[in-house]
């Protein structure tokens, strides 16, 4: 029991004292996951909007696939990206395996389907409501899609935050493609896994606390944004 409290105490000191190792790891985590969520949004949002408003053959299949891919196991994504980027793989010549870039790619692959599938749902529901009105006002598909994205922006922001939460809390993919190299590709989740097995509880706990605070903060933000939007825009 004492050792547990000791560990908490030590963890707290690391956080309160802005321990440089801890800060560096948290910084890399944020950098990797924020970049990944940015890329995933730039791809996933237009993809979701397109599937929502366009009618084409195989649309239903695309929707089923996108929804299914929301549940992609991170380790499998990690393995696939690893195979692509490894020396013998098709993108091996880039030489980016075991770098933060590889981790960004893996996380982006992981959360793009989440952002695409959920935004498709939100935009399509809005489209059902807006369709005739927008066409009557003279909007073509592209204008209509842009209008729908703008009008559902607060719901879409919640999705982006959820995607970021998923990316930041994921271990398997970054572990495989990043290699968990000290000072280079070590992020919060992989460090927690490693330090726990090494028995260095304070650092693991400290990072765990930061990670949980981050997730709570994200959820609070998502809730606050929705509240504010409802009150201001109805």
């Amino acid at each position: 029991m004492t050792s547990l409290w000791d560990a908490f105490g030590a963890a707290w000191q690391l956080i309160a004292g802005f321990d440089s190792t801890l800060a560096q790891i948290v910084g890399l985590s944020l950098q990797v996951s924020l970049t990944a969520v940015l890329i995933a949004t730039l791809i996933g949002l237009p993809l979701g909007a397109t599937v929502a408003v366009e009618r084409f053959r195989g649309r239903q299949t695309v929707i089923v696939l996108l929804n299914a891919m929301m549940g992609l196991p991170p380790v499998v994504v990690g393995l696939l990206v690893y195979l692509l980027l490894s020396r013998a793989g098709p993108l091996g010549s880039l030489g980016i395996l075991f770098t933060p870039t590889a981790m960004v790619i893996a996380q982006a692959v992981l959360i793009t389907p989440i952002i695409a599938a959920l935004s498709r749902q939100i935009i399509e529901d809005a489209w059902r409501e807006y369709d005739e009105q927008l066409r009557s006002l003279g909007a073509h598909r592209f204008n209509a899609a842009m209008t729908l994205i703008w009008d559902t922006r607060f719901s879409l922001m919640t999705i982006v935050l959820a995607g970021f939460g998923r990316a930041a809390a994921e271990v398997g993919a970054v572990m495989i493609v990043g290699g968990n190299i000290d000072g280079v590709t070590r992020v919060m989740t992989t460090t927690i896994a490693l330090e726990t097995s090494k028995g260095d509880l304070p650092l693991a706990l400290g990072l765990g606390i930061v990670l949980i605070l981050l997730v709570v903060l994200l959820n609070a933000c998502a809730g606050a944004i929705r509240e504010m939007a409802l009150r201001r825009y109805g």
Binding site: E132, S136, L137, G138, N143, T147, W150, D151, Y233, G234
Partner: protein, 240 residues
């Protein structure tokens, strides 16, 4: 772009025939009321005329638009107010400007025009408020302003007062008359006989997807030509 001619117009959704072979010629000028019970096909007929739906058979011809009038041009010269208008999540002013911007007008021009029509419908003081927090009556006035701002030759109104109280209904009706007075053709659906009498110059009476009669308002109420119309007039009077 008027007259509007409908030739044997039909519309079916799956196996359900909603509009059955309607032919009519709607002239510029008189306020046309499409009257009929719920489910008669009034809204669908209006959506066909406004090309929100494609007919399964028959043709729609806008005569004035024949010389060089393309699809886009045709759409820009008509506007529609829906029974339950969709308010965009932005200010009342931005809602009116939206359609104008799509028509390719400059920002300044849009804003001036939008403020003008908001003034006419009595919403100028609410211009900066989010459209979705306005009351039902205000939202419907805003929807009319948004449609009218486009300067259409023809304005379709689909039961514009169906969800409103008498005071709000009166506001809407006087706005519709002002639009009529400005020279825009009014084509409106309603199932309310009182409203048809107050606002209509001619009646297109629909029953079960068929056009039963197309007559001036006086004659319609005095001597309805079809048994359906006679029943409808009788049935409605107690609740008028």
């Amino acid at each position: 772009m008027l007259p509007l001619e409908l030739h044997q117009l039909s519309f079916a959704a799956g196996n359900a025939e909603i509009i059955r072979g309607i032919s009519a010629r709607i002239e510029a000028g008189p306020r046309s009321i499409i009257l009929g019970p719920n489910g008669a096909g009034k809204s669908v007929l209006m959506r066909l005329c406004h090309s929100l739906l494609l007919p399964t058979a028959g043709r729609i011809v806008w005569h004035g638009a024949m010389n060089g009038g393309k699809g886009v041009d045709l759409r820009r010269r008509q506007a529609m107010v829906f029974q339950r208008p969709v308010m965009l999540r932005r200010s009342a002013l931005a809602n009116v400007m939206y359609g104008l911007r799509l028509a390719g007008k400059s920002r300044n021009e849009c804003e001036l025009r939008a403020m003008d029509v908001l003034e006419v419908v009595g919403l100028a003081q609410h211009a900066q408020r989010p459209a979705r927090v306005l009351s039902g009556g205000e939202q419907q006035r805003l929807a009319i302003a948004r449609a009218w701002a486009l300067g259409p030759d023809v304005l379709f109104l689909d039961e514009p007062t169906a969800n409103l109280d008498p005071a709000a209904t009166q506001d809407i009706e006087s706005i519709i008359n002002a639009i009529h007075a400005s020279g825009t053709k009014i084509i409106m659906t309603t199932h309310n006989l009182g409203q048809a009498r107050r606002l209509g110059d001619e009646i297109l009476f629909l029953s079960n997807g068929r056009l039963m009669e197309h007559t001036p308002i006086d004659r319609f109420f005095r001597e309805p030509a079809s048994a359906e119309a006679a029943t409808f007039i009788k049935g409605e009077i107690p609740w008028q």
